[in-house]
């Protein structure tokens, strides 16, 4: 900010960046006050995509909320499903079969890779590197094919259920995923040859949008945006869920907290996620893909057709929904963007009394003014890209 007093102009210009701007990654509007090309003040305006998910959830049964969560961070829908399901399971106090946990981990890490691929593709495109985009979408396509095998949908999976997943892994899944996992590290190297030591890339990213570890925590940053500043906090390690404690993986950290470090952390995270998928495929245990608990999970279809009690359970569960005990729980997972938390207040009925979503992008975006003020206009594009925001979960 000291540079401002040295300039000769006194006239500040206010411009609108977004909500229709390709580099704001959705309907984000930034009100920028400029002195020449330097940002004096940046003010994000959000809410254009507000659909009232939290209000809607209060009128839905616990299972009906699952598709709502897909539409939060729509480039990582399975992570949202998982965060929600874990919260309801915590509220109910139920155990999930091991096979279901491992299936969830596989899908969750594939989701992380696909989310990071979309981030890398668009981030590089924003900064003028077009080739990366095509490479990333090639791999993302394979992951979406795998998702389609599992759930029938490519984007909004919704294949999670309270108590497990909707069905077992289909035939051919293991082979296809193994093939992807074997190929992916070499593909990652391909992206890296284009960017990591590229002088243009470094000039646009090194030293840009710096935030110190202390500030990052104060602003509530989480996920790769926080780890880029060197804070070693990953919920998969700190509070393991879904049997993450059984896997070996490193938590990549940055040093300087700039755009480049956040880039590098995500690249390394993809490597680690790939390794987790690899391990999970090898140790995938046999067993149920969903816990069999009457009044919480649906009975198997063949039982419904042949047994009276199962038919009654099925009917009761569909019409009344799950009725968890009175109480409140908060649970969070390490989503691709950071800490994704759900807070559910239950009054004992079949609808959540209050459902609060803690979206990582919402909190991460809050630190944007801190990162861009005093810097040049083109840096805003780099910083927005490095925060990896999705407006679907910011506006909810």
């Amino acid at each position: 900010m000291t540079a401002i007093s040295n300039t000769t102009t006194t006239h500040l210009m206010t411009i609108n960046m977004g909500p229709q701007h390709p580099s704001t990654h959705g309907v984000l509007r930034l009100l920028l006050e400029l002195d020449g090309e330097m940002i004096v003040k940046a003010e994000p305006h959000i809410g254009f995509l507000h659909r009232g998910v939290e209000k809607l959830a209060e009128y839905k049964t616990y299972h009906q909320c699952i598709p709502l969560t897909d539409r939060l961070d729509y480039v990582a829908p399975f992570s949202n499903n998982l965060a929600y399901a874990l919260t309801v399971e915590k509220l109910l106090g139920i155990e999930i079969p091991e096979r279901a946990q491992h299936i969830r981990v596989i899908l969750c890490e594939l989701t992380r890779i696909s989310s990071h691929l979309l981030w890398l593709a668009t981030h590089a495109l924003d900064l003028g590197a077009m080739t990366v985009f095509f490479y990333c979408f090639r791999e993302r396509e394979t992951i979406y094919d795998i998702f389609e095998m599992v759930s029938g949908a490519r984007m909004n999976l919704s294949c999670i259920r309270v108590g497990g997943v909707s069905r077992d892994l289909p035939g051919g899944f293991l082979e296809k995923t193994r093939k992807f996992v074997a190929e992916f590290p070499s593909r990652l190297n391909e992206y890296e040859t284009l960017l990591t030591n590229n002088i243009i890339w470094k000039k646009r990213t090194v030293g840009v949008g710096v935030i110190s570890a202390e500030d990052a925590i104060d602003y509530g940053l989480s996920g790769p945006s926080l780890r880029g500043s060197g804070v070693n906090w990953d919920i998969r390690k700190a509070e393991p869920y879904s049997s993450y404690d059984k896997y070996h993986f490193a938590v990549p950290l940055g040093k300087n907290g700039d755009v480049y470090d956040r880039y590098y952390v995500r690249i390394e995270e993809m490597r680690q996620s790939n390794s987790i998928v690899h391990q999970a495929l090898n140790v995938l245990p046999k067993g149920d893909f969903i816990a069999r608990i009457p009044n919480i999970t649906l009975p198997p279809k063949e039982d419904v057709e042949t047994k009276m009690e199962s038919l009654i359970h099925h009917f009761k569960l569909i019409t009344d929904g799950i009725q968890p005990p009175k109480g409140e729980v908060y649970s969070s997972i390490e989503a691709p963007k950071g800490e994704l938390g759900f807070y559910i207040v239950s009054d004992g009925s079949s609808h959540p009394y209050r459902l609060k979503i803690r979206p990582p992008s919402f909190v991460n975006l809050e630190a944007l003014p801190k990162m861009v003020e005093g810097r040049l206009l083109p840096d805003v594009v780099a910083v927005i890209g490095s925060l990896d925001i999705v407006l679907g979960e910011i506006d909810r």
Partner: protein, 168 residues
Amino acid sequence: MDNEAIATLIKTNFPDAIIGSGVFRNELTIIIKKEFITDIAKFLKEHQELDFNFLSDLCGVDRVEMDGVFEVVYHLYSIYKNHRLRLKVPIPSNEPHISTVTGVWKTANWHEREAYDMFGIKFNNHPDLRKILMPDDFEGHPLRKSYPIDGRQPVTLRGIYRKDVDEA
């Protein structure tokens, strides 16, 4: 620190402030009086053993139907000590205001704006208390239980967004 130790530490330091506490699904909840929120927030952040440096989430809950109050709920986490705490503050529904904690955790800024937008809870001394998700002309607070799910606005959103254009 485990839940019991955290609860004891807070209780001994603020004996007058605690309304209640409990553990559900291994999550510690402490309910406090609203006058003490700033002091307790500072204490929780600065105490070396507690070290609650990370405000995970802050939100409002409408309990007017149940207890006649709004609640402000703080989800705190310590990155270095790896423990969590839920702080709840009931505030009267006819006069919903409470001191801000933006001075303690900067991240509270947007969370408090959201709680203001959704529930009409006013945060005293907040540096920039404006609506955040809803349009400026939106009437009412959509997450209050008294706001119907199919609530209609007197002016349509299109009307709100086009007002400046139409008047010009």
